[in-house]
Symmetry: C2
Subunit: 94 residues, 2 copies
DNA sequence: CTAAATATTATCATATTTGATAACTTTTGT
DNA sequence: ACAAAAGTTATCAAATATGATAATATTTAG
């Protein structure tokens, strides 16, 4: 029983390590999406309402926020999203 | 002579005010470009060298950095620029 | 001052994002 | 449980960024 547990432990550690690696690789994009969603929710807006403010459609907001989507939004899109949720975009290079 | 100077002064003040307004409106984009240029120079790279590292052409770097250009770069483009100059992109919404 | 180095500009092709629409799925409220 | 609300997904059109090339302009080094 303990041998199976050790094998499972190693496998799980490997999986976590792999996920972590992918997470790190996608870090800025991942972080941006998390922030987009947080801002919208903090503003108490549905995707549809936000879309309305931004002059677009909810499906486009969904695409922007989706972790399954590999798109790389343009700066002006992020600026508009920020404004619509009461924020301002700030880009740094660290 | 003093009347002409006064007229020119007002005109210049108007122009500056107008430029300032446009500057403010374009603030994030303007700031990004300034940072791009600073990073490249800090890294001691010409546009041509940087282009080489990024796998593109110097003219494309020039376009990215140009204050006369109204393009809105994609996030992945900025990520690649950052990496090539030894930095990492960080996006915030303040 | 001058040539080399560096940067800019224009143009067209290609790639990718955003716009628009509709169908579908999941979540929420009662 | 069920309908409405909210979010997702796919698709195609339009818009825009990037790739690639070449000519031109500006800056720099000697």
């Amino acid at each position: 029983m303990s041998r199976t547990t050790l094998k499972q432990f190693k496998e799980k550690a490997f999986q976590n390590s792999k996920v972590q690696e992918e997470y790190d690789l996608l870090k800025p994009e991942y972080a941006i999406k998390k922030k987009l969603i947080a801002m919208r929710k903090d503003a108490g807006l549905t995707q549809e309402k936000l879309a309305e403010i931004m002059g677009t459609k909810k499906s486009n907001i969904s695409r922007l926020e989706s972790f399954k989507s590999s798109i790389s939004p343009r700066i002006d899109t992020l600026i508009n999203y920020a404004k619509a949720t009461g924020h301002e975009l700030k880009v740094d290079f660290v």
